[in-house]
Amino acid sequence: MTMLFSRFSFYLALAGMAYAGMLVLRLSAQDPVLPPPHAPTTTPFTNSVAAAGIVEAQGENLSLGVPVAGLVTAVYARVWDNVQPGQPLLQLDDRELRASLIGQRARVLVAEAAEARQRGMLARLEKVADSRAIIREELETRRSDVQVAQAELAFACATVAQTEALIERLTIRAPRAATVLQLNTRPGEFVMPGAARPPMLLGDLSYFQIRADIDEQVAPRVRPGMKAVGFLKGDTQKPIQLEFVRIEPFIVPKTSLTGSSIERVDTRVLQLIYRCQMADENAIYVGQQIDLYLQE
């Protein structure tokens, strides 16, 4: 055996095996699974249904509409303003209507004058004491002339009132108490009824309403009144306690919330409404995405 130990090749082979062993050990070492860079959201319940939600103002967001297309001449509210019902928000251009009002008012004066003349003529005729001195038929004609003149006056006045109502309609007022969430128009811009982007977005911020989308395949597990917590996007560690409001009775096609320009409809979702109050510790904004866990 000593003969073997004296050979160089023996040690070369030994070294080779040791080197291979080291390489095997080094290469078979597994990377450790590190914890996530940021702790993810976890459900506080043992069994839960997960949902993706979006924050809305209480009683939904209100996209302000305009009755007619027109130029905006004044904007009376700014974002964050709390507006009361009936408070003017926008003024549309009313110059055309005001211009016709001038003529219509003059027409009232004309009608008044015509009516006064007819009335005077009738009065003179009626003052004649001797009934034989006038033709009975003429008296009747005069009387109906007065009625026609009165009707024409009333019509002229109605036209003025109509135009005034149309002018009033061009002042857009707040339909209910709300906060201005978004302002999309400025004086001088043109607005149209039914435009995709409303000139103003209003919402009641006394409560936030959360619209939770639940995949229709999980929908049978949903019960009214399920307790829920929400995690706002970007804040995985602060659960927000939510209060059940209602289940929307109508299942709608899901629209992707990724903000992509192409709306992808791939499944239908059951919508649940929850609500929570604005609190100092949670900065919640309307339109924010929120992950929900509902207790089963």
């Binding site: 073997l4 090749s9 082979a13 070294a15 860079p37 997960a50 992808r264």
Partner: protein, 378 residues
């Protein structure tokens, strides 16, 4: 007797080196082939190595991790609704084109990590900060990406430099180390929402859902439960790894090609060492005959030959392993060649060498068994 055998073996240095080198060469061929195969197979599941997660949820028809059949966005809430889930986050994986400063385009593997948690983010950051991924239009590039995307630039692409992915700006905020992929494209990490903007728009974009079980629940049990409740595919890390490897074994010619190399290594090794050993025995026939004449039994002579063959085998095997490890280690450092040495490879090659050695020894023993002592006088 064995002492005499060793003396006989080491006596002729030229013959000895020939014997050893036959086995060494054979070991080298077989081990290199197998290590190349194993290395190549690890490249196929590099996504799993780069984005570590206990459970991967996929479309039910997905078999391997480079194949993405995207799911619907709501599937993530369906998975989250399975009890026993600690967390579930989306992952986008897709091939995109990166446009370089000189106008040429390079293929990249675009990875979209969950916006909030960045789960699946590379763990080895060489430069920059992973956190900066929260800034607009930012990406994390891997070391291969630096090499590929630096073409046509005066200095290598670094932190703060800009390139384009599908006509959108991508600013590098960090450089990481990652495992090379089979498809060859460098990994470019960004957030999920941004990856969806970068990637060509499709109806569905959610490639994978990464999931972790709650403490006390095994990965396997949760994967089975997810598959059962949602109808999606769910794999643990190891299951997905093996599913991927087996897919490549079934669907590509890699195992046949590399298997051929290994078999050729075995045949060449067996032929060379068998032949050399036989001629070694032939040359020493006179000595064996003398020993026989002196009264050595067939058993003693066989033991002598066996020990000679065994020593040749072990020394040749050791030298071969050392050589292949040295070669592989230096190739690895270049980073362009797949190479993975496993203990299984050393064991299989060892067994193959023992078979070669046994064949050689048997041929020698058969020759000596029929030996007449009178041959000494010829």
């Amino acid at each position: 007797m064995i002492r005499i055998g060793l003396k006989m073996l080491f006596g002729d240095r030229g013959k000895y080196v020939m014997l050893i080198s036959g086995i060494t060469f054979s070991t080298l061929l077989m081990a290199q082939g197998m290590a190349l195969f194993c290395g190549l197979m690890t490249w196929t599941y590099s996504s799993l190595r780069n984005m570590r997660a206990p459970i991967w949820v996929t479309d039910p028809k997905v078999e391997q991790c480079n194949d993405s059949k995207p799911m619907r966005d709501t599937d993530i809430t369906r998975v989250r609704s399975v009890d026993g889930i600690a967390w579930a986050v989306p992952l986008y994986q897709g091939i995109s084109m990166a446009k370089l400063a000189d106008g040429s385009a390079k293929m990249i593997t675009l990875i979209g990590l969950d916006n909030d948690t960045l789960i699946g983010a590379p763990t080895k950051i060489i430069a920059g900060r992973l956190e900066d991924l929260r800034m607009p239009n930012t990406v994390v590039l891997d070391d291969l990406g630096v090499e590929r995307l630096s073409e046509g630039r005066e200095r290598p692409i670094g932190i703060g430099d800009i390139f384009e992915i599908n006509d959108r700006e991508a600013r590098v905020v960090a450089i990481c180390k990652s495992y090379r992929s089979f498809t060859g494209g460098p990994f470019v990490f960004t957030t999920y929402d941004r990856a969806i903007l970068y990637a060509p728009n499709q109806r569905k974009m959610l490639s994978f859902i990464l999931v972790a079980p709650q403490p006390g629940l095994s990965d396997e049990a949760l994967a089975r439960r997810i598959a059962e409740r949602t109808g999606l595919g769910a794999f643990t890390h190891d299951e997905f790894k093996w599913s991927t490897v087996m897919w490549y074994v079934r669907n590509t010619g890699i195992p046949i090609n590399i298997g051929t190399i290994v078999i050729i290594g075995f045949i060449i090794g067996a032929a060379i060492s068998g032949q050399t050993f036989y001629s070694f025995i032939l040359e020493n026939t006179r000595h064996f005959a003398a020993l026989r004449a002196m009264g050595a039994s067939s058993g003693e002579l066989s033991a002598m030959i066996l020990s000679q063959a065994l020593i040749v085998g072990v020394i040749g095997y050791g030298t071969g392993l050392g050589l292949v490890s040295f070669l592989g280690n230096n190739l690895l450092r270049l980073g362009k060649v797949p190479f993975l040495m496993l203990w299984q490879i050393t064991a299989i090659v060892g067994a193959a060498v023992m078979i070669i050695v046994a064949i050689s020894a048997v041929i020698g023993i058969v020759r000596i068994a029929r030996l007449e002592p009178a041959i000494v006088f010829r």
